[in-house]
């Protein structure tokens, strides 16, 4: 069930605030995305600048950088992801509580960037984790990071309660942590989230609303 936008604004003028549980729920989550304090390279400098007074990420409710994955909602992967660092990143992601989101910031974490052909750099973190927003740039300016956070907020706004991954049965809470192999990481990508021919195939969401709908109020 959705509330007619016209009716909503009309009632609001009369001093009646009408909303759905879903809107309230999404509003709450989108307005306090706590990022994980986590910088890998030069992009982290831009991330720090975004958190400081001039750009002020606090305007979007995302100013509380947590030093623990258990308390964070958002992982901003700011910088070059080396093969040696990848298992730690996947492990940190597994340790984050649902709901959790990932932003890859900068060319390196998206695709390997200028180090793509090197022996030590992962060709994009989307090989192992589902990524919500990619922010290209080398490094992206703070404005770009803010735009990325706004995009993520938009994505959260559009989520349906009954489709939310973390309420589904058989949800995958553990993403396999790659191991160090003789030539590189084993496996080279997680086939469930990544297809090298198509790029990121994303996570599968249920097509239709299940019978036990608790979606809207």
């Amino acid at each position: 069930m959705t509330i007619d936008e016209g009716l909503k604004s009309e009632l609001q003028k009369q001093g009646i605030f009408l909303t759905s549980l879903q809107d309230l729920y999404n509003w709450g989550r989108r307005s306090s995305i706590w990022p994980m304090q986590f910088g890998l390279a030069c992009c982290a400098i831009e991330m720090i600048a975004t958190a400081c007074a001039r750009y002020d990420i606090a305007r979007f409710g995302a100013e509380l950088f947590r030093a623990s994955p258990r308390q964070a909602d958002l992982m901003i992967v700011a910088g070059t992801v080396t093969k040696k660092m990848t298992p730690q990143i996947v492990r940190l992601y597994n340790q984050m509580a649902e709901p959790k989101y990932v932003i890859t910031m900068g060319a390196c974490s998206i695709s390997g960037g200028p180090f793509r052909e090197g022996y030590n750099v992962l060709q994009g973190l989307d090989r192992y984790l589902p990524i919500d927003v990619h922010i290209p740039g080398c490094p992206p300016r703070p404005e770009a990071l803010l735009e990325g956070i706004m995009k993520l907020q938009k994505k959260i706004d559009e989520q349906k309660l009954w489709q939310l991954e973390w309420y589904q049965k058989g949800i995958r809470r553990e993403f396999p942590v790659p191991a160090f192999g003789p030539h590189g990481l084993v496996p080279r990508y997680n086939a469930e989230v990544f297809d090298p021919l198509k790029g990121n195939i994303g996570t599968v969401k249920p097509e239709k609303e299940p019978e036990f709908s608790h979606g809207t109020a």
Partner: protein, 164 residues
């Protein structure tokens, strides 16, 4: 600092049986003489080369080279380069770590990247790559893996070879 020719003359006079080849800002040393030469430069006036500022490997395809930059903190002089050439099949070089503690990590890095084995090193293992890695990635014949292939068997053989 004295000119290189004078240093070479001095070294060959003091160390019997030593043959040095001037090369760039230093000498090409046979690997069996490296420790003797380095110790002589470290302990004797007027050189007092007590500091290794840089130690690295080089791959010249036909051979591998280990280059050490010696400086003198006491005299504020340097550098003198000591280069050792070894074959790819037998890449063994005596370690400078017993003489200069600062060479320890740099020798580990040269071992990690080029596979040069420093004999006498107290703790020679990989420093940047993981222990399971079998290649030496800065060697010219190393080819990085194709990260788009999921299984190793599907890798073309030329992508797997290289390194060891």
């Amino acid at each position: 600092m004295e000119p290189l020719e004078a240093i070479q003359k001095q070294l060959e006079e003091k160390i019997p049986g030593l043959k040095l080849t001037p090369e760039g800002a230093g000498f090409l040393v046979d690997r069996k003489d490296l420790l003797t030469v380095a110790r002589f430069l470290k302990e004797n006036e007027p050189y007092k080369m007590d500091y290794v500022s840089n130690l690295c490997g080089v791959d010249y395809k036909e051979y591998l080279e280990s280059v050490a930059y010696l400086y003198s903190m006491e005299k504020k002089e340097g550098p003198i380069l000591l280069k050792v050439r070894v074959s790819r099949e037998d890449p063994k070089v005596p370690s400078l770590t017993p003489l200069f503690r600062g060479a320890e990590y740099q020798e580990r890095e040269a071992y990690d990247m080029f596979g040069i084995i420093y004999e006498g090193h107290p703790d020679l293992r990989r420093i940047l790559m993981w222990e399971e890695f079998v290649h030496y990635p800065l060697r010219k014949d190393y080819k990085p893996e194709d990260q788009d292939l999921l299984e190793d068997e599907k890798q073309p053989p030329e992508a797997i070879q290289g390194g060891k």
